[in-house]
Amino acid sequence: MADIQLNNVTKNYGKLEVVHGINLDIEHNEFVVLVGPSGCGKSTTLRMIAGLEEITGGEISIGGRVVNDLAPRKRDISMVFQNYALYPHMTVRENLGFGLKIAKQSKDIIEQRVNEAAAILSIEDLMDRTPAELSGGQRQRVAMGRAIVRHPQVFLFDEPLSNLDAKLRVQMRTEIKRLHQKVKTTIVYVTHDQVEAMTLADRIVVMKDGHIVQVGAPLDVFERPVDTFVASFIGSPPMNLIPGEIALQDGRLHVVFQAENTMPVPRDLADKVVEGQKVIFGFRADDMMPKAHSLPILGEAYDLRLAVDIAEPLGTETLLFSTFSGADIQTKMFNPRRVEPGEVMDFNCALDKTHLFDAQTGKSLRG
């Protein structure tokens, strides 16, 4: 069993604190993705779990054992690095077997495990090449193979796909997911790419400025972001966010935007806001679509007219760009037809799926 606990973990570089008291419980065999913009402390956190960075404060335990003062080699982990970090002077076979050789395993076991890993990653043909003779994707596979052969308690991935081209990245992403299903192990995976986070994770940990902002299953984080940062970071295109103020109109609370546009407050949020409160109204592109080009709307729908400035056809859907009360917003159109620039269209807004955030704190009012 290898669960990982982070208790109030901090990291300082000199006087500068870069990770501020992180608490996180990772369960056995769970695939957890740490995601956030660069400089948010996600890689530092991973390297503290690996033992490559010292822990300034707090406690990290792996499989119930506090590892704060343990060298990386005693933590029973393996790690895949962004730059693959293969040993340049060894062949692929030697690279894979190196950890086992150091652990003084018998030749038979080394060969068996190396072949097993090579089969899982289909790199049998590359075994006698050196890393210099491999392509980026092949190196990445070898790096993962090197992590697999040792049968560690925990896999750590540090932005493993960011050096690959777009197509290969998608392919390797699927392979990593498949790998996790084959080799059941706890995985902690760091990325700045929210698509990777969404697709791979059992649970996403969104980080910003050395804090954990939100932890949850991908869909939870997508549907119920705790604040405007998560709302705009997770999901593509990012959530549309428009500042406004709460006012009573026709007996119902509305958000009033610039230029006197309004939008009713969703019913389940009516008791969370008061008149005069400054808020940020948020909705995803999928929740505002032209009539006859939308998905069926669950719950209350709200109609409005919008001029479309730019249309970007993607095939199954078209992205529409408009201006709404001074904010640039993106909406989507299914079963697309040709849209003229400046065309005014009737939209349906899935009101129950919209969000309200406090304008000052940025926190979601859904609580």
Partner: protein, 307 residues
Amino acid sequence: MSSDHIQPRRKRSRDWTPALLLSPAFLVLIFVVLVPLLFSLYTSFTNYRLIRPETLYDWIGIRNYQRIFSDKHFWSAFGRTIVFLTIALNLEFILGLGIALLINRITWGQRTLRTIMMFPMMFSPILVGYQFKFIFNDNIGILNNALQDLGLSDGAIAWLVDKPLGMFTIIFAEVWMSTSVFAILLLAGLFAMPRDPLEAAKVDGCNPWQVFRHITLPFLMPFAFIAMTIRSLDVARAYDIVDVMTGGGPAGRTELLWTMIARVGYDNSRMGQANAMAYVSIMLSIAFTYYFFTKLIAARKYMGGAE
């Protein structure tokens, strides 16, 4: 019409231009390297003596070579040169590696220390030789003085005279002067070293010694072999330090190839024989260079640097 006149001239000048532009380089190479080389090769087959120029035409075939190959003094100088080379290079490599690893760990004042480390290379080998000659002098040397004051020795140790000690002091001076060549090249290697494989090795279960043994050292070996190639040429032609400190003596105990060649050529003025020895010495240097280059290419191949 005018173009008809210009055309052939242009054509001719184009043909000759490369040769013309290269000729200074070729002339320099011919007169500075090739002619002296062939001349000395020729003289090694003559009975040429500096004080009797007419002997330059006294062709004696391979007799000079026969003479030196059957001379046991030559062979001991030859052997001593190899021993000197091997011990000095290995010591300089090990010490240089140690210094480079230590300096690489320093975060504050590293530049200053790097500069200080280079100081020994700033002195002329002759002066270094004199310095150590006086340090190791048996009567007035500071070393014997210190040993006696500390009560570690009651008599004067003849550092420059005794059989193993003479060689030891020369190696000591050589190592003192040139370890920084290894240190600076290996330090450059350490700077160029990627950090990721080191971290991967740590995670893979290596203790610090194993990381050094399996990752750092293989990475540094190309740099070490470059240093070895350069230094093997340097050390194989060692003359100045030895001449100043012991003059190859006493009784030939510290005689190396080049001190012997210089003595035979200039003191005994048997230039023909000296040139024969010099050619043997050059063969030795070529052998060492070839050996280290082979090692270098083998080491670089794995790093993805060569080809």
